[in-house]
């Protein structure tokens, strides 16, 4: 039994085959069948039991039998009080962690009253320019009990400082707050493209934050190493895996160079993956990621604490996979993607809302997205047994293959001298643009199908309700920021900003001076201006 080659040449050859390309959404061609011939490596080496090295089957001993994943919907729009109301709504609906979306000016280090912020305030997320905005955003939320994730990168040091100051003003010590700040600058140059200064100083700020959190905010994840945006920019699943792990390697190297022992910070690195349409590919990617990270931390960096080797992760369903056409179909896509995440063993999950290709989500659409997770958790039964795909010939073969191909990318990046060098030459950026173009061509040639777009389309779309952002909020936020700037002690602010400048130059850890600056009402834009002045401004090379 089981001779695959023989079977392919006889039984399969005689059967019919549809004239399509049998490849994943990343265009990885799959075999008609996987058998024991395709699976290599012993159980203990390749898989291990859940909670045991190399964690392929899950990082925790009891996985979802012990605790379900954290349901964490990303939310942010308009003014701080608008988003605060959405947070309370979500917590009231059974969500157990918060996740904050900031608007473009905040993400790029501009205050709401800057001319570059015009038309963008509160549009793609919530506007936060001052520590008072941050206080309003988390009003009546127990920061010592709810964990918070903040999606912000080049201005992350300032937003974290504001969060810490809000906690301290609420009488909650820094040791007691838990959460995550995305703060993954490498993937910004690769994919998401939000930056202030060039890669090297940006990496220094990230490392300052890793060091600072390891010492002062021990429950905080100072970096969420993110494949999500890499995938959204159009990468393949293997590229997402490879570039993300390579970014992780770079952060670990930098922190070690700084003199922080690997086991003192590695357990506070977390990850963030995309969950795309191709079900098996996604399950395999998550399993491969855990095994790769465990081996890298143990063998390459000599970590001793098992927690340093465990890849714990948030995941989000793929925004780029949603269609503006027949948008209600997105509910189905999101459910399938989320299920892949759960079967892939994630720790925290955001499910997209059906209307997110059109606008920020309405409350009703968000509720369907959250209920999707609750249905998976409570009704489908997939949480009853751990890693049910373990031992599947197809999934194990795919897991092995993705690890192999991702390691090949990592080898090439190491040869180039590491991720910063690779970014400076545009290597990952070009690889992703190439993959994005390839997919678009396959879509237009009908090799890849998107339901409702290039097949099963309808002549007249049925519109759905979308969230509208009141254009007046921009003016209100501008006035609010200007009032703070008018009424504060400007001498005290100047002194504090000068200290941030000094720290930029001396190499002293930036976090204490930034905390002091925001305590004295320095704004997101003002601290970012210090970075611009001290480190220079990065501009897009504009590679096509």
């Amino acid at each position: 039994m089981g001779n695959k080659k023989h079977w392919l040449e006889t039984t399969y050859k005689q059967a019919s085959e549809r004239p399509v390309r049998f490849s994943t959404v990343s265009d990885m061609e799959l075999d008609a069948l996987y058998t024991p011939d395709d699976v290599t490596g012993s159980y203990d080496d390749a898989l291990g039991n859940p909670g045991e090295f190399p964690y392929t089957r899950g990082v925790y001993g009891s996985m979802y039998r012990g605790r379900l994943w954290t349901m964490r919907q990303f939310a942010g729009f308009g003014l701080a009080e608008d988003t605060n109301a959405r947070f309370h709504f979500l917590l009231g609906q059974g969500q157990d962690g918060l996740s904050t979306a900031f608007d473009m000016p905040t993400l790029m280090g501009y205050d709401a009253d800057h001319e570059r912020a015009l038309g963008e305030v509160g549009r793609e997320g919530v506007s936060v320019s001052t520590v008072y905005d941050m206080a309003t955003l988390f009003d009546r939320i127990p920061l010592d009990r709810v964990t918070t994730s903040m999606t912000v990168n080049c201005s992350a040091s300032i937003l974290l400082a504001m969060y810490l100051v809000v906690a301290e003003r609420n009488g909650i010590s820094w040791e007691r707050i838990g959460g995550t700040i995305q703060n993954d600058m490498l993937k910004e140059y690769i994919a998401q493209k939000e930056w202030i200064c060039p890669p090297r100083p940006a990496l220094r700020i990230v490392t300052d934050m890793i060091e600072f959190c390891a010492r002062r905010v021990p429950r905080w994840h100072a970096v969420s190493i993110s494949g999500y945006h890499i995938r959204e920019a159009g990468s393949t699943a293997v590229q997402e895996l490879a570039f993300t792990i390579a970014d992780g390697i770079c952060y670990v190297e930098e922190a070690i160079k700084r003199g922080v022992a690997v086991d003192d910070f590695a357990q506070r690195l977390s990850f963030f993956w995309n969950l795309h349409n191709d079900f098996l590919e996604e399950v395999a990617k998550l399993r491969a990621a855990r095994r790769m990270w465990a081996r890298i931390m143990k063998d390459r960096f000599g970590a001793k604490n098992p927690k340093s080797m465990m890849l714990r992760t948030h995941a989000q369903t793929a925004g780029a996979s949603l269609t503006a056409q027949q948008p209600i179909n997105n509910v189905v896509r999101v459910a399938i993607q989320a299920l892949a995440g759960v079967l892939g063993g994630i720790q925290s999950l955001h499910t997209n809302s059906m209307d997110e290709t059109l606008a920020l989500p309405t409350e009703q659409a968000v509720m369907v997205a959250l209920r999707t997770q609750q249905v998976i958790a409570e009704e489908t039964g997939v949480t009853n047994t751990i890693d049910p795909f373990g031992g599947s010939y197809a999934v194990e073969a795919l897991t092995d293959r993705m690890e192999r191909e991702a390691n090949e990318y990592i080898r090439r990046i190491d040869e180039m001298g590491g991720m910063v060098k690779a970014i400076e030459t545009g290597y990952p950026q070009r690889e992703i643009a190439e993959a994005a173009f390839h997919f678009q061509r396959q879509l237009e040639q009908g090799i890849k199908i998107v339901v409702g777009v290039n097949k099963y389309s309808i002549p007249e779309e049925i519109p759905i309700a979308t969230l509208k952002i009141d254009p007046e909020i921009e003016e209100r936020q501008i006035q609010r920021v200007r009032k703070v700037k008018r009424e504060r002690n400007s001498v005290a602010v100047k002194e504090a900003l000068a200290r941030v400048s000094e720290a930029c130059r001396s190499g002293e850890n930036l976090m204490e001076p930034i905390c002091e600056a925001v305590r004295r009402d320095a704004t997101v834009g003002e601290v970012s201006d210090i970075f611009r002045a001290e480190f220079g401004v990065y501009t897009d090379p504009g590679w096509i």
Binding site: E194, T466, D540, I544
Partner: protein, 134 residues
């Protein structure tokens, strides 16, 4: 005499970093036989209008996915006119609701492409609707 190749400026105004679409369009237009200049990200309307004039562009394609299109598109149009380049064909794409697309066309934006538009449609539209500036 060979016809002059049309020069198309593909531009990303505003702060959003979503350049997947803009890059695909730039490449498809280049493959379609046009001369393409891509501005890169985070351009102000001034930078774009200036580049259109400097590069002698016949058309400008704007890509905005941040929701700021109702501020950024009209500003680019205004600045082009101010620089005597009002006849440059402006088209665009992104997350642009139908109501806004109507308003933008009233302001003189020639065409708006929304999610699902194929690169072929866009290349064809440029070929049929953009004329070389004289």
């Amino acid at each position: 005499m060979a016809e002059k190749r049309l020069r198309i400026l593909v531009a990303k105004p505003g702060l959003d970093g979503h350049d997947r679409g803009a890059k695909i369009i730039a490449r498809a237009l280049r493959d379609g036989g046009f001369e393409v200049i891509y501005t890169g990200l985070h351009q102000t309307p001034e930078m774009i209008a200036e580049a259109a004039v400097q590069e002698d562009a016949d058309a400008v394609g704007l890509s905005v996915l941040s929701g700021a299109h109702m501020t950024l598109f009209p500003e680019v149009m205004r600045l082009l006119k101010e620089r005597g380049a009002g006849e440059v064909a402006v088209f665009g794409g992104g997350i642009i609701p139908d109501d806004d697309a109507v308003k933008l066309k009233e302001l003189g934006v020639r065409q708006i492409f929304t999610p699902g538009a194929s690169t072929e449609d866009i290349v064809k539209w440029v070929r049929e609707n953009v004329a070389a500036r004289t």
